[in-house]
Amino acid sequence: MRDAWKVAGPLVPWLLMVGCEPATITEAHDQLARGPARQLEYAIPITQDTFTVAEFLGDDTTTTADGLLAVTIAPETLGVALGRRLRFDNLAFARLKVNVPAGIPPGNANVNANYAALSNEARILAVDTVVVDSGGITITTMNRLPGVLTYTLTLNGFRDSNNVVVSRSGLTVPAAPGNGTYTSASVTINLRRVKIIPNSVNVNVSGTVNLTTTTTATTADSSIIQSGTGTIVVERLSGTLNPAATPELVIAVEESDEIPASSVDFGQLEDPVKNSTLNDVRLNLTVRNTSGAAFVLSNFTLGVVKLTAGGAIPRDGSNRPAYETDGSGQITMPVTDPGLTTLTIGKGQTKSLSLQSARLIDRVVDLVLSNQRAAVVGEGTVRVGDGTQSTISRADSVSLAMGLTVALDFTVPPAGVAFDTVANGDGMGLDSTKANDLAGTLDSAAARLIVTNGMPFGVEVLVAAVPDTLRAGARADTVFSRSNRVEIGPAQLGPAAVDAQGRVTAAVLDTVNVRLTGQQARVFFGEYFGSGTRIRLLPATGNRGAIRTTDRVILSARAIVWVRVGGR
């Protein structure tokens, strides 16, 4: 049967069709267009959807207590290792004077003296215990007697790690000529791991002077003098720590932390954020004191600096951080307890603060989104101890964990915020002939957007499309300068009504119509197209817009296409 059809089948249609084949392709097209000339209208819905700003942001979003939509920036920590800053420089022992009366005949004469070596060091006497991490004391002994002084030095109140009193024996000081001049000798005692109880410090010098001649009146006064100086780095400090008594407990600090670009993610809203002013950024500060001593931060500020390309903090003439400035001066903000001028953190306490830092973070965001390196610098004074029994060790620190919540509360310039974007898209996939045909058939097409705008911003959009793919790195200006571009728009959508804080009070219903001719639509009929979009974010009344999570845009888009058929 199939074979029979193969033979007979072609004859019938051929006989029927013979003479019916048009002579040219054009004639064939015209033949099919012999029907009545008509213009058809196709009205179809494109989409109806609800958009919120959160959809254009990254993943790290939250809601502020005021109900504003906010972006969170990953916490950064400023750590101040206060324990490492504790040290006593230029410690000076009280001066020991031993008088050996005149008339002592040659031979060994005993010397035995005690003195409160730290009696002049009120700053260290104010603490109960000092454990030394490193450092030492250099003790110098002067001798004007005509005989070698051999002695044992016992530092009562100084105990080593084995809890043994620190002492040195066999120490000698050369003999003096006996004419009133001194000889001297020094010994340096390493105090690492030595525990000092300042109020118990009593240094004992015990030994003999092997006199070669009889002592005279010339050598009787201050026959032996001992003094000591040193520096110690503290391992642990305890006692009724009082910065007023111990100035070493007042520590100047400066720490910085770079805000990495990866922490700042405003999704597709980076350009609007960069070009507007943030009004509400909450700095959630968690201050942690790991020590057994209270800290008081005085004159402590956080400021923003633009790091050098190498990541260094720029400095001013006073070697202080060169903070970024704006119309109000240096961009810094104080960190204090509410209503106070200082910030106090108790022993082992963790304290949370929420500070308004819009001015600071606005600049940080601007820098980071402009591909600059930015850092937050903490600078000020920390006073350790509050006069009560306290302890601080070398490992102790105060840390400031900064969690940022950037509310989407902007102030937009009256002219709006303009930014560009480019994109490549898939067209209808028609070849050139079919695309031209469709463009000729299509009389025009209109897109009608019925928008319920519940956003405190309006928008103006101008699109330029070109009939091929844009190269990587192409800019919108490039697209808008192309001679074969098709411009759509500008279309403008008005903002919703807002209150003084920029919050929407009533959504606005607006309609945007965009109409294209068939030839303009031709650009979308090929395989691909490239587009550049100029967007201008328009401010509402007061130029301020605060976006709440409930703010949204309800978009109903429909297309109406007019097509020409027949008529030839």
Binding site: C20, H29, L32, A33, Y42
Partner: protein, 446 residues
């Protein structure tokens, strides 16, 4: 059927001799064999050769195809644009061998498709039908009152209809908003048949010039070879509503087909019955005929039936696109034996001689419902016997999908055989025809 045939028989028995027509004795009209007075039709006629005047065999074939929108030049243009030339029709080997049917450049443009749809007449949708048959017949009369014939032939029917309520979506745009698949459907059945038909002849009844009664009965053994059908099945829920705000589609399509040609005799064949009643008044040249044919159903074995339903309520065109993309994956396929009703043909024919050489035939074929739907058709034909054995035929076809059609043909009718050739054109002549038909018959008498 009885309500048509009984009154006809009663009329024949009680009617007085019909007033004589202009058929004088010795005229061409009076000398024509009674069998040749039954004018051949392009339409389905199982008794086509049952009244041949002598024993012999007949080879016949005929095809017709029509639609209500595209004429031959339109079709030629589409083929030319799609394939480069209509010459591919001469070499369809690639297509039937599974190759690419149109290897040439595809110049068919989107506007061509829209323009072609624009040719579909308003209010009627796109419809078309085709049928073809070809086979052998062996038979002849046993005396003057009985005739018997055996036939073997292949036959194919095909119809399609895209409902107006669907076509206007593309043709007229979306202004109307409410559309549906409606009664859109299409079906094709190819079968081979073996048949036996008898004709009993009675008369003249009542008087020497009384009526002659011909009663034909026959049956055909039908073996389906191939079947395909697609139709909308969702019924009253069928809706396609497109407004500027939303798109609502609830449509269901059933697609059935035999995946391969069933050439086996597996006991699933069926019988179709045909009945004919013909009254003739030879002296007046008047004849009345009623025929009911193709009574029966056919069971088709191993038919794959897929049901696909699309239900979308959306205001997003992309969602509709997604739904259409997943439409195929929703198909439910069953393999079953499918029983279909054959396209039942009911036809009434009247013929008379207008003068010595002119016979006029008028026939009405009632609409056919079901899978192979066809509209009411009225055929008016004339047979001109300037030479008695060489009748020339011309006529018009009214009704049908295509509007007015024209028929023409000639025959040679002899004592040892006959030859008939006829053609028809619907909706216009030649290039402007939206349908065509042709028949070729050759009979050889022993």
């Amino acid at each position: 059927m009885r309500r048509f045939t009984l009154p006809l028989i009663a009329l024949a028995l009680v009617a007085p001799p019909v007033a004589a027509q202009a058929v004088p004795e010795g005229s061409q009209a009076a000398r024509v064999e009674a069998a040749y007075r039954r004018t051949p039709t392009f339409r389905f006629d199982p008794f086509r050769h049952a009244m041949i005047p002598h024993w012999g065999f007949v080879i016949s074939t005929g095809v017709m195809a029509e639609n209500n929108s595209l004429n031959l030049t339109d079709l030629g243009s589409i083929i030319t644009l799609r394939c480069g030339s209509t010459s591919l029709l001469l070499n369809p080997t690639d297509a039937f061998g599974g190759g690419e049917i149109c290897p040439g450049p595809n110049n068919l443009l989107p506007s061509d498709i829209l323009n072609a749809v624009n040719l579909v007449p308003q209010g009627r949708g796109l419809t078309g039908l085709a049928q073809g048959e070809g086979g052998l017949y062996l038979g002849g009369p046993f005396g003057g009152h009985f005739g018997l014939g055996l036939s073997a032939q292949g036959r194919a029917y095909g119809t399609f209809q895209l409902d107006e309520s669907f076509v206007r979506l593309v043709r007229d745009g979306t202004s109307a908003q409410d559309f549906s698949l409606g009664s859109s459907k299409g079906a094709v059945l190819a079968a081979v048949e073996g048949g036996a038909h008898t004709v009993l002849r009675f008369g003249p009844l009542g008087s020497e010039d009384g009526v002659h009664l011909n009663l034909g009965v026959g049956g055909r053994y039908i073996k389906p070879l191939n079947f395909a059908r697609a139709r909308s099945t969702v019924g009253s829920g069928d809706v396609i509503r497109i407004t500027a705000d939303s798109i609502i589609v609830d449509a269901e399509v059933e697609v059935a087909n035999t995946p391969s040609v069933d050439s086996t005799f597996n006991g699933k064949a069926s019988i179709a019955a045909d009945i004919l009643l013909r009254l003739t008044w030879p002296t007046s040249g008047l004849a009345l005929e009623a025929m009911v044919a193709n009574l029966g159903t056919v069971t088709i074995h191993h038919v794959e039936v897929e049901t696909r339903r699309l239900r979308v309520r959306t205001n997003d065109i992309a969602e509709l696109s997604d739904s259409l993309n997943s439409f195929d994956s929703l198909a439910v396929t069953d393999t079953m034996d499918l029983r279909i009703t054959l396209p039942r043909v009911v036809r009434f024919t009247a013929s008379a001689w207008a003068n010595r050489i002119l016979q006029v035939d008028v026939s009405t074929t009632l609409p056919i419902k079901g899978d192979f739907e066809a509209p009411l058709a009225v055929d008016v034909g004339t047979t001109w016997r300037f030479i008695r054995v060489i009748p020339l035929r011309a006529g018009v076809v009214l009704g049908g999908h295509q509007g007015i059609g024209f028929t023409g043909g000639l025959a040679i009718e002899g004592r040892t055989g006959f030859f008939q050739l006829a053609g028809q054109s619907f909706g216009g002549f030649m290039r402007r025809a939206t349908g065509v038909g042709g028949r070729l018959e050759m009979g050889f008498f022993f």
